[in-house]
């Protein structure tokens, strides 16, 4: 089992999980957010191929377009 943090909330995973699978499991549409993994923005095209690692810190956020 590995422990990760999504927007500062701890969550445990029992099987290898990609970033894309993790986001979909939160009921969040992949095309509605950006993702920071351990202080680095990860482009959407890589979410399917990166597996969550123990103690990963993820931040999910939407685009803000106002001004």
């Amino acid at each position: 089992m590995i422990l990760i943090h999504i927007n500062n909330v701890a969550q445990s995973l029992t099987q290898p999980t990609s970033l894309a699978e993790l986001i979909l499991a939160q009921n969040i549409a992949l095309d509605s957010i950006a993702l920071v993994l351990n202080t680095q923005v990860v482009p959407r095209n890589r979410w399917q191929t990166i597996l969550c690692q123990h103690e990963d810190k993820l931040e999910l956020f939407s685009a803000v377009a106002g001004g």
């Binding site: 956020f61 377009a65 001004g67």
Partner: protein
């Protein structure tokens, strides 16, 4: 429609005159600026796209700081709902084009600044002037201060194609975002499209969610601060990965007053700045 003014140049040689030395003395005092930095600002050209909450303040900071040339772009007219946060405008300006009103005000506030105003939506042809300056070796920048995702994508694409540095800020409700990218000095940080591809679903805007004036002011101030430091060439000796401003994405929470920073990375499959064809990821 394009409207220009032509004030006296701040300097025609490589020193500040006495009047400008006094005017900009608090900036020149900084070792990071000095007389050379002030002359560099006077030689710079910045394009400000969107003269709303962000753009009207960023344009004031840059013009009054001694930036030599500004291009202001906005097709919108001043509305009464703008006035609580767009402090450059007043009741008497309601119904007038924002870029034209801002140009008139800034001519008064910052007579050293040459200002071009476009009362149309953004298009890449409006960057031709700044590109000529870039070819002459002058410092050039584009500020994205717009209020919608589609225009932000267009500005990003145009800056990538024109190899112009982009400093982008946004705000809605209590959430702000800010980043700076440059395809020449730091290409590995990618572009806006690498973070938010064009088909991203976006719901955060001031007109639908509301915003407090000081939150907008914070974002515009930070955007101006990043822009001035890039124009001054501060930390230009740093290579890309070590640059303290380029290639970073900041998020501001206006409730807790906290900032979170992340590093940007290029998407090699990005439709805008990538070199390879994008792969489908929503399958």
């Amino acid at each position: 429609m394009q409207v220009m003014n032509k004030p006296d140049a701040i300097t025609e040689c490589n020193t500040l005159n006495d009047k400008d030395f006094m005017r900009y003395s608090r900036q020149v005092l900084l070792p990071e600026v000095g007389e050379a930095g002030q002359l560099r600002l006077a030689d710079a050209h910045v394009v400000v796209v969107g003269i709303g909450g962000l753009g009207q303040l960023a344009a004031q900071y840059l013009a009054c700081a001694g930036v030599g040339e500004l291009t202001l772009i906005d097709m919108d007219k001043v509305e009464v709902s703008n006035l609580p946060r767009q402090l450059l405008f007043s009741d008497a300006d309601i119904g007038l084009n924002k870029a034209l009103v801002a140009k008139e005000r800034l001519n008064f506030l910052a007579p050293n600044c040459t200002i071009t105003a476009y009362e149309t939506s953004f298009n890449i042809k409006q960057l031709y002037g700044v590109l000529q300056k870039k070819r002459q070796g002058k410092c050039t920048l584009v500020l994205d201060c717009t209020d919608n995702f589609e225009t932000r994508q267009l500005i990003n694409r145009s800056c990538v194609e024109a190899y112009l540095p982009l400093v982008s800020a946004s705000i809605a409700a209590f959430s702000g975002q800010l980043f700076a990218v440059d395809q020449i000095s730091f290409p590995s940080s990618g572009c806006y499209h690498c973070i938010f591809p064009a088909h991203t679903r976006v719901s955060h805007s001031c007109s639908t969610q509301g915003v407090l004036g000081p939150s907008v002011g914070v974002m515009a101030s930070m955007q101006s601060l990043v822009a001035m430091q890039l124009l001054l060439g501060m930390d230009s000796r740093c290579d890309g990965a070590l640059h303290p401003l380029l290639g970073h994405f900041w998020r501001f929470d206006a409730k807790s007053l906290s900032w979170i920073s992340a590093k940007l990375t290029r998407d090699p499959y990005c439709d805008v700045c990538g070199v390879r064809k994008a792969i489908p990821y929503l399958t």
